[in-house]
Structures are given as structure tokens and as C-alpha cells.
Symmetry: C2
Subunit: 213 residues, 2 copies
């Protein structure tokens, strides 16, 4: 084996990764606010992409509000099965938090077809009818973010938090800028980059702030 491997115990890989991220953030001269470091560093850990140090934006007091919502029985709604799969189930169980994804539901597919829209839009409509405070984790579909914007503007939805990290090329940048106009707590990855993995990483970082890693 020509390759030199770093000797790190399985339980220490994550901590070592965060050390490296912290060192390289300092060396790069990028400034991040210390209170947001657990979120920003976990997103970098998930992507190996230091651009997120500049791209993640936070509404005022969002961490306190999000942590309170998680402690007080908010549920989580994602726009992909991938984001749902990437969220730490042990932490969810510890806090008794329900997580929903409606993208594969038949009624969602039917509503999307009927209305000539995306399943992501129909699944946000379905979420708006839930009987619990909601944290949205939207890592894929700009149409989902746009629908959240409309529902909030129409007074039909008051989310506890909108995590907006869709990725891509069509209306992605715009949909994220729209969320920044809303009077709701948000964590958004500006620009084209993001993904279900980024949305899940942000949820996990918040869960660990509440119940430990």
C-alpha cells in the first residue's frame, strides 16, 4: 500500500475532522461568527467545501429560536427522502421529534398533477395542514421554498424555522433570496450550492446543540 493513512480511532474521526476544519478556517482568514460555528463547521464537514463559511446566512436569534422549537415539540418536514435519511434518528428519538417527508405520497402526486405543479409544492401544502409547529429542511426543490414563501405571505403558514439549501440552476438562487425577505427564522445557503446533505447537516447541528453529540 503506497498510501500513507492517518491513524485515527473510529470514535475520533469526527473530532479530528473538526480540528482540521477549524485550523483551515483560521488559516484561510475567513471570519465566521463563533455562535454559528457549530452549524458552519458541520456543513463544511459534510461537503468539504469552505465556501459555506461565506454563503450561510442566519436570521436574528435563529439558533435560540430553533433550539426552543426543537425542545418544545416541533416536527421536521423535508423535501427529499435523502434529507430525511441523513438526519440523526437517535437524536430525534431522544427529543421525541417526528420527521415527515410527503414526496412519495399518492395524494401529493395527484395534487401535483391536478395543479400542474411539482410534488415538492404539493408536499409543502400537505405540510401546512400538519397539526404541529414545523421546521422545514428544504435541500433540493426551489419550488418548495417558493411555496413556503407564498403560504407565509398568505398567512397560511408560520414556520418555526426554514432551512433553505436547494442546489441547482433553475430558480434556486431566487428561491433562497425570497426566504430572506420573510419575517420567519431562517438558515439559508445563498447561491447555487446546497443539497439534501447540507439541509440534513444543519438539522443535525441544531439537534446536537440541544441534546449533545
Amino acid at each position: 500500500m503506497k498510501t500513507e493513512l492517518e491513524q485515527v480511532l473510529p470514535g475520533e474521526i469526527e473530532a479530528r475532522s473538526f480540528e482540521i476544519i477549524t485550523e483551515e478556517l483560521e488559516q484561510s482568514g475567513r471570519k465566521i461568527e463563533e455562535r454559528y460555528a457549530p452549524i458552519i463547521k458541520r456543513v463544511i464537514h459534510t461537503t468539504a467545501d469552505f465556501d459555506y463559511a461565506d454563503q450561510l446566512v442566519f436570521s436574528p436569534n435563529v439558533l435560540e429560536l430553533a433550539m426552543e422549537a426543537l425542545r418544545e415539540g416541533a416536527c421536521i418536514v423535508t423535501d427529499t427522502q435523502m434529507a430525511k435519511a441523513g438526519i440523526n434518528k437517535k437524536a430525534l428519538r431522544k427529543l421525541g421529534i417526528e420527521i415527515y417527508n410527503f414526496m412519495a405520497d399518492e395524494d401529493v402526486a395527484e395534487a401535483a398533477k391536478r395543479n400542474g405543479t411539482t410534488r415538492a409544492v404539493a408536499s409543502m401544502d400537505k405540510a401546512a395542514a400538519l397539526n404541529c409547529p414545523i421546521i422545514f429542511a428544504v435541500g433540493n426543490a426551489p419550488t418548495a421554498l417558493i411555496r413556503i414563501y407564498e403560504l407565509v405571505q398568505e398567512g397560511k403558514l408560520q414556520p418555526e424555522l426554514v432551512i433553505g439549501t436547494p442546489v441547482g440552476f433553475v430558480n434556486v438562487v431566487q428561491s433562497k433570496e425570497m426566504i430572506l425577505e420573510l419575517p420567519v427564522p431562517y438558515i439559508v445557503a445563498r447561491g447555487r450550492k446546497g443539497g439534501s446533505n447540507v439541509a440534513a447537516a444543519i438539522v443535525n447541528a441544531l439537534l446536537y446543540l440541544v441534546c449533545g453529540r
Copy 2:
């Protein structure tokens, strides 16, 4: 609403995204081999990160070999639930392909504890005992790739394809370079970047090459 949205029908968003990716790849002057374009562009579609045009490496004839394996009943093994969740189930059903992820299995947790290793390693050992040709989609754990390397070197495993796209900071770069030394078909994202989403995107691109989008 201050933001100007592009008017694109739901069914046309993906095609429009690929047009944009194609245009910007050309403008950037990056050269990609045409035969690999469906893989590279789908990874860029999933990440909005054009670096992958340079970072993805392909073993000789890998597309032909992978397509043949998918047609002839190979199964897929992932190292995360996220990668499994991100792979197109309709395409899997069409081709009759089984997909496995062993990370949450009790015997895997026990084996990892007993051997002082990661669950990713134990789940690769479990995969090696499967009674089908295997395509590995490893988007997270460098220890999984390193175990695949060892099993191949020991003559205990002969995968049809290794998709190696772990992301991160500890042994990630090294584990991917190790796969490049193996006499097996591979698609690898060199460097630190990657992820479960990237592994799933590569599997999906291959599935669509076989059975259409």
C-alpha cells in the same frame, strides 16, 4: 415579490438545468470527455460544483462494464442510508435491481465493536458475503473504501464497480487514491469533495444510461 423567477414547467426543470450546465462547461473552457458527460453533468447537477469536471476519474471501459453489470443482475451496496435514499427507485424496479445498506444492522454494530473498527468496515465485510455481483456506492466512509481495497487485495472480493466519493478530511483523499490502484472498474471523485448525494447521482446516471430517464 422582488425576485424574478424563470418560467419553467415542472417536467422541464431538469432538462433546462442540464442546458445551463452544458453552456457553462463550454464557457469555462473545461474539457470533459463526451462519453462521460452524462455522469459528470449529473454530478454537477446534484452539487452545482463544476470542480467535479476535473475531479471525477474513470477506469478503462467503466461505463460499458457498469451498464452490463446493471443489465445482468448486479446488486448495489451503499455505505449510507442517504445514498440509498437518493437512488431512483423506479429505475431500480424497472431493472429488477436490489439495493442494500447494512449500516443500521445489529450484527454490523456488534462486529464493529468487537473488532474495534467502524460500522462501515463491518458492513463491507457483510456485503462481501452477498451472493450477487456487487456495485459499491461509497459516498461517505473512507474506512469502507479502505476495507474494499483490502478485500480485493486478499482475493475475497471482485466488485463489478466501485463508486468512491467519500467526503471529508481524515483519510478521504488517501482512500480514494487506493481504489485507483485496484484492478477493478471504478468511478472516483479525487480530492476531499464528494458525498452520499454524489454517489447516488453517479448510480442514477448509470441507471438512466441503461433504462432511460
